[in-house]
Symmetry: C2
DNA sequence: TGCCTCTCTGGCACTGAGTGCCAAGAGGGC
DNA sequence: GCCCTCTTGGCACTCAGTGCCAGAGAGGCA
């Protein structure tokens, strides 16, 4: 049974990869909104109906990585000793996951597309909210908050702000055409948020 | 001409209000996604086509306020002396705008719907991003950042984090069934984000 | 080899959102 | 009365997304 399953998932993943590859090509070539699902299906040589068996939405093609990145982020964060303070731990986790990214020029194009396409932007933020749910439990531990007190905003606030900083950094990174360093932008964003002295 | 315009806009605003009222009733009664535009149009006694002349999207009915609230927020913020530090100024602006809200029980239902409906959630975050654009210039002034240096993430980071805190507070406010105090939740969220001592 | 079953696939038809186009109507100015 | 303008409704269309069903292919079993 496990052997079968491996075969199934393997071919299934192959189709995933094929669709993603084909669709990304079309997106970068002619724009996200200008590309229809029929077009993707035709180019990938599958039926329109089958497309929807692999991706629920056109946006999911672009943002599929974000979901898995979230899981990776959580695992990375949970591997960091609890003695490390929340912001430090988050910073470290972000850096490690970001370090895995290859081909920054392609990434830049995709990021640019994401920031410029409203529906993609919205969905990407939704994914970031899912990150929040994944990361909050660990931050609660670091803060020493008792299990299920839902009225304490601390952990949510920290994670949410950290992701907001990441988003701001990403935005600026795109705006500068990939010139600036993403990690550096993130650090400066966090610094600005957390510095007590605000005005001379 | 100005008299005409007033009449036009007045009747136009009347239709806006009518559609909004009717639609909100349907949303709260049978759910957002379960309500179709045809239904809204029929109930409001206008044609489907005319509906789209007033609202670009079904979501815009619910989130129409957020756009105007953003403008109000900007004006409120700009009325606060520049000597006031960013976080303090934002806090004050949020409180003033929030104070105008009537009927917290209705607000709670709407907020609940917004957090539970994915498409609404996504759009509401988009609106919050627009707030960001509105508020950042003023925060830049408070930080003393020179006009058009786009590579400084400070102002964006602060505004983005503040809105994130507001969002977290709102989320918890809904989760507690409106029991907790929104302003208090916000303060605690900001405190958690900005406190240097993170772990005992 | 033939049969059974399970899954993947494609095709069809449908709903619902959103848009472009055009003709008809309401209201004000002359 | 007529003209101009803005609004309205209706029609037809594209595109996203879903439900349903029939057929193809692969593996298990006698």
């Amino acid at each position: 049974m496990s052997n079968q399953e491996r075969l199934w998932t393997r071919s299934r993943q192959a189709v995933y990869a094929e669709i993603t590859s084909v669709a990304m090509g079309l997106f970068l070539e002619q724009g996200f909104e200008q590309t229809t699902i029929d077009q993707i299906a035709a180019t990938a040589a599958i039926s329109r109906r089958s497309f929807f068996r692999y991706f629920g939405t056109k946006e999911d093609i672009v943002l599929g990585d974000l979901a898995s990145q979230g899981l990776l982020l959580r695992d990375t964060l949970e591997a960091i000793p609890l003695a490390v303070a929340p912001w430090e731990a988050l910073r470290e986790a972000f850096r490690k996951v970001d370090g895995l990214t290859r081909q920054r020029d392609v990434m830049l194009k995709i990021a640019k597309m994401m920031y410029e396409t409203p529906s993609l932007r919205a969905r990407s933020i939704e994914k970031h909210l899912q990150w929040q749910e994944l990361l909050v439990p660990n931050i609660r531990l670091r803060l020493g908050i008792d299990g299920d007190d839902p009225s304490d905003p601390a952990a949510d606030a920290i994670v949410s702000s950290a992701i907001a900083c990441l988003d701001v950094a990403g935005q600026l990174w795109v705006r500068t055409g990939g010139t600036a360093d993403l990690a550096d932008l993130y650090d400066r964003a966090v610094l600005a948020v957390r510095t007590p002295i605000e005005k001379t």
